[in-house]
């Protein structure tokens, strides 16, 4: 992969500028992605290139999701309903979002009740 020998020199002709920017930029989700890959079945030490590729894919996914959410529903804002609408075709993701949000609501309710019960 191009990243392996990019540290010493700066071959501007061989790499595109976006690739150079990515090299200089710190990876957003470095450790988390590696943990996730291991959890989902990869080796204890996943390849760095694979992790970087997955990070790019995730960032692309989130970017597309955000762009689309900006257009639908209330334009210019990203709301939960937009996310749910965009995801609804994919059964797994849809179920996960629903579960996460209901769980969050229940936790909030529980915490409020717990705090009130403290007295």
């Amino acid at each position: 992969m191009a990243d392996s020998d990019g540290t010493k020199q700066s071959p501007q002709h061989s790499k595109s500028s976006s690739q150079q920017d990515l090299d200089k930029k710190k990876r957003l989700f470095f450790k988390e992605i590696r943990c996730m890959m291991y959890g989902f079945g990869d080796d204890t030490n996943p390849y760095t290139e694979s992790a970087e590729l997955i990070e790019e894919l995730v960032i692309e996914f989130i970017t597309e999701l955000t762009h689309k959410a900006l257009q639908i529903g209330r334009p210019g804002r990203v709301q939960v309903e937009d996310i749910v609408y965009l995801i609804q075709k994919d059964a797994r993701k849809y179920a996960r979002v629903k579960d996460l949000l209901t769980m969050n609501e229940e936790l909030k309710k529980a915490r409020r009740a717990f705090d009130e019960a403290k007295f």
Binding site: L57, V58, V84, K93, A110
Partner: protein
């Protein structure tokens, strides 16, 4: 369980573990108290039980009243309503029961894990995208503030996304007969397969220019 011990390969998408995993993805099983993400919330979960926990006692109470109302002759005009209410309650009870059965199954499974498998399972449950980074990323893209719920939803969906990629990439790797650390070519093949599925969001994006 002996299969897993001698197999040595810790792919959690074999047979019934994959079932457990897919069921995990569809029902959030917050009963695994040892692997909770936040220590504070785990106390709450123990106190209040699983999500269906608090609902159990009121439903049992309703069960008694509903049985007694059903047995009495149809005096009041709302008996039809109560009949449908009973159906709803019985459906709810069935769901809770199946949820409980699921949880028990998961617990039995987890107690049978070897140490390696436990490690991997812990990583699977605990790994998540940092909400702060996702919020920052989305706000820089959207140009407006995003609410907390949106961040929670997007973080969860992204994790499922990574899981789907990894699952298919591991299958591809196995088909090609190679060894564990997944290589980028497997990931790219996985993405290609994912995009070919019609249920994948944004599959229309990278249409080939005909």
């Amino acid at each position: 369980m002996a299969e897993y011990a001698e197999h040595g390969d810790l792919k959690l998408d074999d047979s019934d573990v994959s079932e457990a995993n897919t069921s995990k993805r569809s029902n959030t099983s917050m009963h695994e108290e040892s692997f909770d993400e936040k220590p504070g919330s785990s106390k709450l979960k123990r106190k209040f039980g699983s999500p269906s926990g608090p609902q159990e006692s009121p439903s049992k109470g309703d069960k008694n009243t509903s049985i007694s109302s059903k047995e009495s002759p149809k005096k009041d005009p709302t008996s039809a309503q109560q009949a449908t209410a009973d159906e709803i309650l019985s459906a709810k009870r069935k769901k809770e029961k199946s949820g409980r059965v699921e949880r028990m199954k998961m617990q039995r499974l987890v107690t049978a894990f070897s140490e390696d498998q436990l490690n991997r399972y812990e990583m699977y449950r605990r790994s998540s995208f940092p909400k702060a980074s996702i919020k920052r990323l989305m706000q820089s893209i959207a140009g407006c503030t995003v609410s907390q719920n949106v961040v929670i939803g997007v973080a969860g969906v992204s994790k499922v996304y990574v899981g789907e990629i990894m699952e298919i990439a591991l299958d591809v790797m196995e088909q090609q007969g190679e060894t564990p650390p997944v290589k980028p070519k497997h990931i790219r093949e996985a993405i290609r397969k994912l995009k070919a599925r019609r249920t994948f969001p944004f599959s229309k994006l990278k249409t080939n220019p005909l």
